[in-house]
Assembly symmetry: D4
Homo-oligomer: 225 residues x 8
């Protein structure tokens, strides 16, 4: 039988983003084998979608080297990357239920050495909550907007800031929220121009996209508009 | 062969709303026969989804008795109902392309003797356009919000006014706007509580719902909250 | 890390509807923290989609102040609002399985001080059950119709009453009932004019919409039709 | 190249239903060749979905032997089958726009020698129209109910008659009527038990199903219930 | 609070089919209350979708009066109806996994006093299994075909018999079997004319439809074709 | 501005299949430019989805070098490839309306030097039509089955032959035939094992797949089973 | 009651593929009865989708005669078929999570006496992993590509090899991966010509299709291209 | 009647992107009125989705001030903005049919003063076409990938470059390409991390997103990674 995985150690060098381990659908043994392989090589790894029930046997084997966050279901092996020294990313979240997804983005940024500011529970049903923070949000070069249901927050933010805006649709909601598809479609069909989108609940992907933008920014010549 | 229609002349008495003629999928001859039947009875009829190309032969037969509006594709036979004497309905529209649908609602209200105010092209991509009119909108007992694409305007209005809010999703947009389904789903999954919805592009239905609300209001005892 | 919630205490003043807590997807700790915050401020809160298994630890912390109804999975903290003094809302339900959703609407109205009458298990497969209650139903200014499967009850009621009619599609049924989507689509495409709709299983939303209508009614001048 | 068709002349003997020609997607030449083949054999043929624009060149070739009905877009070659001598089928139609589909069923029955009664424009938005004809409808052994949009008529009829009920969903409606899918799903998920369904707009199929039922009835021993 | 159910005792007289209890989504207490009400009236009841785990507490209360079949998840209270004295219905099943659904139809027929013959595991992947039984199947006035996945069996049977054919799509299969939707759509779009369809997994409905057909047959005059 | 195309002249050498030109969505000028480029290089090209209206101006420019077939909407520039000397592919078609798609496959095979046999209009509604040709079909190493609607023919053929079977779902049908999706899903969920599928109406792709199979066969050592 | 299964012992002779037992939705007793029937006849059987929890009681009854593989959830009764003596099939897998599905294909091939080579975790996000193995893959007459999410690997392989390519879409992924539908659709709409597809997660079917191709190859005359 | 539009002249100052006119669904008169309003104010406007048939009467009124490009269906009024002085954006297109959408992005960038490089017809079916240009593409800070059908090009590019990658799914393809939904879903579910997506065929939106990224880059401090 063939070996079950082939870790892409060159990904960081190639595209500036380390390969992370998506733990859903993998057994504890498979995850542990990858952790062992990484320990023997770079010693640094991000694990996403890691349930508490899988974390516990992994902790028994790898101990405190794995730093676990139950809300976002992420674990970090080893030290994060050196600080990127770019302005913080804003992570704007519509409701309390969007926190796990937004936090996955925050943890992915932290692993990569990038700071962020979280703005929780400021959906448009109470527009004042957004408006009183908008100047602060506007100062971030990249704004991630995590929202489920109708995702109206995405369009409102998109119409108020000139930064790069990444919609992060979440599966929050029921009925015609359609497991996040309505939020996704609303973001893609936004009336505000130039909104970008990632897959439903893909906090990891939203952060990776932000990192692509920030890394490329860091290497370009400054110019005043 | 059986007669092709059976007009519901009792509908007005029964539910307070006259039967209207939905012209899509009907031939000019069928429509004309209904007009003749109504002329012989009440003399008053609303026709919706009437294309210019069908209006012309109808005009040749029924002349100026049919008052036609090409933007909303509606025609009115005879005099509108007596004025309802209720405060005007607000019809808030996200973009220029939502005008035909919003105007269908306006014409249906006018036929029933109800006034309205139209607020066109005030989508959330330019939030200031809405905010500078919001106090005026708030004073209407019923607010119809016509929007396509992401329909974010519905949730923003719903979070700012205490009136009855009727979302009127439109088929404006392309791709994942899905012919209005995304706007419809976003309205139904709105983060603002107590939003009501009608079918895509159903300006007639939104107006009928407003009339149900206003008629029942008119017969209830006043009370201060 | 940021605080996890930002309760919208001003919502009642702004749109006439208190913010309620949707408990699905929230942990007991998150819910309990909100209850504590509300206790310290207004002392009055509606909780929806609260499972028995979450209610029990909450009861251990907050005791009899939380009045729980297992059928509708709602809890009420503190005293309901003062009575609205409007005629009762009719809640018409097609079958026994629609009761939990209809009851969520009833509880939301009760929390807001509004009375209602429930009519259970009167679907159109036995039309006589509806017809013998229709005069009573007709006298309500707002009629909520909770139905799953084909939701034919919505159109039949809509053709018989002149009140405001709010369709409340439920996820009752299997196969092409599609988790409530068929009921929702049937309500939106109803042959009866002026029907309004909320999201699938959204008893809370249907009640909020009824409250918007009744509140605005209460402040308008009386007029005879 | 191979011959383009292989007419199933044995179908009538095998299952009691002649093969008919579905003309959509066939060229005038293909249809004409089939007509020629049938003329040379049985001389009797039903053509469905035949547009006026295709009928005209066919008429030029085959003349008055083809009896054409523009409303149902059907043509009949030769004489219908001998009368079946069974009670008439009831064809109940919700609205004027359902007539073409209902008429296709009527024409298919007529071709097979079976009588029917059509009940047009008696949808549930005006329930009295149905109730005043229900005793007559109830006396038919097979009732076909043609309805689009929400198809509520199907369930209401199904709850009032003990006959075999065949739902014939039509593509009438717009938006979430979804080209007839909502009517189809509502019929399949009907709260009335024992409803049977055919494809959207399939008047021909509904009639064939009625014929299967009536033919088998005709050969069974009588028994009192 | 309102009573939770309103049993339709007149349904048998009205449409020839007793109301049955669909147990999914009902609590044991609700079901038991209905059983008590029926015991006090007619003493005869069919229960469908009754899980073993719900049956056990019901058995504790109502004992051997409830005759339970675990495969079809049905229970029968009291004696079945008198024998209908019509030829048996054929229930043709594509695979072993279709048995529970086919058996639900068989039990519903048995409750109504109607006999049937079951033909299990004769899908078209082994066409010989069908062909060696086809003459026997052909002799039934009504043929129910239970099939999931591609439901090809429906069209093959429909092309070989002249009886009334009721497709009973099942949720057997995975991936694009789409929980039975592919079988349903294939049956509705069948190339064999005059096929009728019920909802996915609706064995009860297929049997009710067969009973409608057989009851009406029983009251019609005999005639030779 | 960049050049608009970059023809893949190496594809034949790389994967054994020439690049063909899919003409839908291309202008006559774009197609003509590709034809010119090919003329200057290999002189041999297959064009698919070429409407008569586009063919005519192309004929005016390139004349008899383009051999056009209106039924399949294909044109061939230059001489077909040398004969492959493999047994003919069987192309089995359910109905007359499946001919254009089946013929596209036949033309693609012919262009590649591969023979085929077409079997038209032998759907399972008249099973005898298939059974009388099945021995002949069985002798082909690759069988392409073109069918729309329920695509039951795919499963029946798949259960009768041991050859490689390629389902070619067509968009023939209406309503829940869903533009070919039902045929596609039925083929993928077939009860016969080992059926392979291509996209809806993709006669070109089915033929390319057959060529991949036959080419690789031609280079393998013979062995008796 | 009827016997519950009718095993198709002739399938191997008829189409070259033994009937296998799909264990999902079957009880342990049903599976055990089939195993008993096969033991009494051919003694050789493949079981798929067999959960560990069902395997254990089967092992208790049938012991070591059932060889079980937990990763692919397959069991084999008795000895595999004699070796086919054809070159190995390549099974290319995009990620670790695609292994169970790919392994089901491998086990099905092994049961039939066919060898294969597995290439795990070589998705296009790290294209070098594929490119360093492509020459080896290219030498297989049949290449199975198992991939979920976007299934981009299918098109890349299809553009690099001339072999028969069978896409095996998997349900790996979340959100708009849609349980494998996106991978399936991407494979069917591939820009590489001549790709063939099976149902989502259908490793058994992909292997059966490969066997159909290889068996027919084995009986054809050799020819050089 | 209300004025029909309310141009958002402040949008450029607010979010760095001028409001553009989406001409689909607008009449020539409406478009012309907007052009007049802009002429009177800023004199500079981008028009998208402008059909030739609408352009002609506009040209008659506004003459050479409107510079029209028929391939992308865009027109530009007045002079583009001053050059942004950032490195060019790469626009990578899979096939010839993706050109109109890619060109819409190019024109939007040009209007904003931003340069770009187009790479046409380099889909993965001929991977060499991409690989020979990849170093050049890699040097762009933002890469837009326009692809329809399976959109495999998006993942391949995403795995090879570290720049910001914007997927621009197009509606190119048929059948299960689903009007671009398969390309969209494949891009969102990409196995390459950090891919961002816009709506189907939304070349304008992809360019706006690129401008947001580049503008914010231009104002940030340089830093080496």
């Amino acid at each position: 039988m063939t070996p079950e995985f082939k870790f892409d150690f060159g990904r960081g060098a190639r595209i500036g983003l380390d390969e992370a381990v998506f733990c859903e659908g993998k057994t504890v043994d498979q995850i542990s084998a990858i952790v062992d392989a990484v320990k023997a090589k770079t010693g640094r790894l991000l694990l996403t979608r890691l349930d508490q029930s899988k974390y516990e046997p992994l902790f028994a084997r790898h101990g405190a080297q794995l730093e676990f966050d139950p809300l976002s279901r992420t674990a970090i092996l080893g030290q994060p990357h050196d600080a990127l020294l770019m302005p913080p990313v804003a992570i704007v979240m519509a409701g309390t239920s969007d926190l796990p997804v937004g936090r996955e983005a925050a943890r992915t940024l932290a692993f990569a050495g990038q700071t962020c500011c979280e703005y929780a529970d400021i959906g448009v049903a109470g527009l004042w909550r957004l408006l009183e923070r908008i100047d602060e949000i506007r100062s971030s070069p990249v704004v991630i907007v995590a929202a489920g249901m109708d995702a109206a927050l995405v369009s409102v933010v998109g119409g108020l800031v000139s930064s790069a805006v990444i919609a992060l649709p979440t599966s929050v909601g029921y009925g015609v929220a359609l497991g996040g598809a309505t939020a996704l479609h609303a973001a893609l069909a936004s009336c505000a121009p130039g909104i970008l989108t990632v897959n439903i609940d893909n906090g990891y992907g939203a952060a990776c996209a932000a990192l692509r933008i920030l890394r490329v920014m860091a290497t370009l010549p400054k110019r005043s508009v």
